[in-house]
């Protein structure tokens, strides 16, 4: 433990904003899959499966970077200092888990005018540097933009 803590303080590399975002040359999200019922979670670890109750049968899987917009909202009023408007969306991934993220490169006004065009829109994950943390690490976040 002590060595890990030491490594953490000397390392100045980027850090993921949430623990299930895997950085490196091919950034992707990591799922935690129940070996009994197949439910997929976005946590790194959990006590048991909340769908079936099974313990100790979890394995990590690499989640697809491509998904489809299920629903969304356009936020116009947020906490002080947060730039608006932004689009929040629920993205369904093919592995059977959903992710919440901002939609990038989609016009908020258009999203409100034509909701139908938003549903099932194919999107892909992109990462970006969100901020620098107190220890000087770049904090890497992810969002989704329309697939080409």
């Amino acid at each position: 433990m002590a060595e890990q803590a030491k490594a953490a303080t000397t390392d100045t590399g980027p850090r993921p904003i949430l623990p299930f975002l895997q950085l490196g040359p091919e950034p992707h999200l990591r799922g935690n899959k129940c070996g009994n019922c197949g439910a997929v979670y976005l946590d790194v670890k959990r006590v048991a499966c909340s769908k079936c109750g099974e313990q100790n049968k979890f394995s990590h899987i690499k989640l697809s970077n491509k998904g489809k917009v299920y629903v969304y909202s356009v936020v116009h009023q947020s906490f002080p200092g947060i730039k608006t408007p932004y689009i929040t969306a629920i993205i369904d991934l093919p592995e059977g888990v959903s992710v919440k993220a901002s939609l990038i490169d989609v016009d908020p006004e258009q999203a409100q005018k034509e909701p139908k065009k938003m549903f099932d829109m194919p999107v892909e994950m992109v990462t970006f540097t969100a901020a620098k943390d107190r220890e000087g690490h770049d904090v890497i976040a992810y969002g989704y933009k329309p697939s080409k």
């Binding site: 909202s73 116009h76 009023q77 947020s78 369904d92 959903s98 992710v99 993220a101 969100a130």
Partner: protein, 387 residues
Amino acid sequence: MRNVYVLGTGMIKFGRYPEKTVPELGGDAAEIALKDAGIKIQDVEMFACGNLYQSNAMVGQRILQQIGQTGIPVINVSNACATGSTAFREAYMSIAAGMYDCAMAVGVEQMGKQGLLGGGGGGTDPAYATEGRMGSGLMPAVFGQAGIEHMRNYGTKLEHFAKISVKSHKHATKNPFSQYRNEVTLEDVMNARMVAFPNTLYMCCPTGDGAAAAILVSEDKLKQWAGGRKRARIAASVLTSDPYTDRDLTLPDVSTLTQRASKKAYEMAGVGPKDIALTELHDCFATAELVHYENLFLCDKGTAGEFIDKKGGVHPDLGGFSPVNVSGGLLSKGHPLGATGVANICEVVWHLTEDERAKDRQVKGAKVGQAHVIGLGSACTVHILTV
């Protein structure tokens, strides 16, 4: 299980009371309820107190320190927006189970002009905050998505959500306990500032302060104390949590746990949706009210838009049917979180017992009513009351 009745109710007008403390607000509502019941605090054997923002600060005991320290058992309840209704249910269960004959439930909250709820993330270092960077956890957006999901599945229009706001604001003009009592037109709602699509300002409930209380009694005590006054019976009291559904951990599923609670409540009360004379439901946002019309089986799945177009949810005095939130709902009446669950039971009781506090908006001849609350995270209560 024994029959349980609501002997007395108390509610202060929802609004903003910066000069008062939480125990004072709760104490005020409790005193009104005790007077309405015609009993004294010394007659109360158990007290369940609902409050969210001071849930670590013994609010129930502090209320008794204001109105009478009788040494009775007190439990402090916190269950998100279902806090007050869960406290009410604790009081109900203690009597139904035969443990006590007289219990008090108080719901109280002081929020002031708190602004937006939800969002967050990031722990102690703001560099890890997710709001705005990775979507939104703010309540107007979360519940906005519930409305968008209905648009996606059933082609529901923005006007449908807006009509709910118009309806509830109109209802509120008749309720002196409501935080806001202004009427709005469809244009006002549609053109108001967008908070989180599709929820405009008038489709979002305000924050504020409030308190409500209820005195619950067994049949024996009812006979002893009611003195022939008309009192409502709690025909069903149900609490559910969110079961596993596919997207629930990412997009809170407010529907499944409500449907389950509703089915159970109808079964427990031995009534159906057609028997319900009035419904107070959890309209934290107009989008939420729309989906709950279906979740409480007031209309068939996918038909909430049609229900609204036919004036479903509108007070019969205004030409509607299946009235919903004749109090003005959370949208107008306000939503001091812990108080809401007790306050909407008070509203239903007032109609059933022809209490003069509901006189200008009385749903005539009401025999059965229901109160529904959702606390995100999630908890759902449904109470059905009868006379």
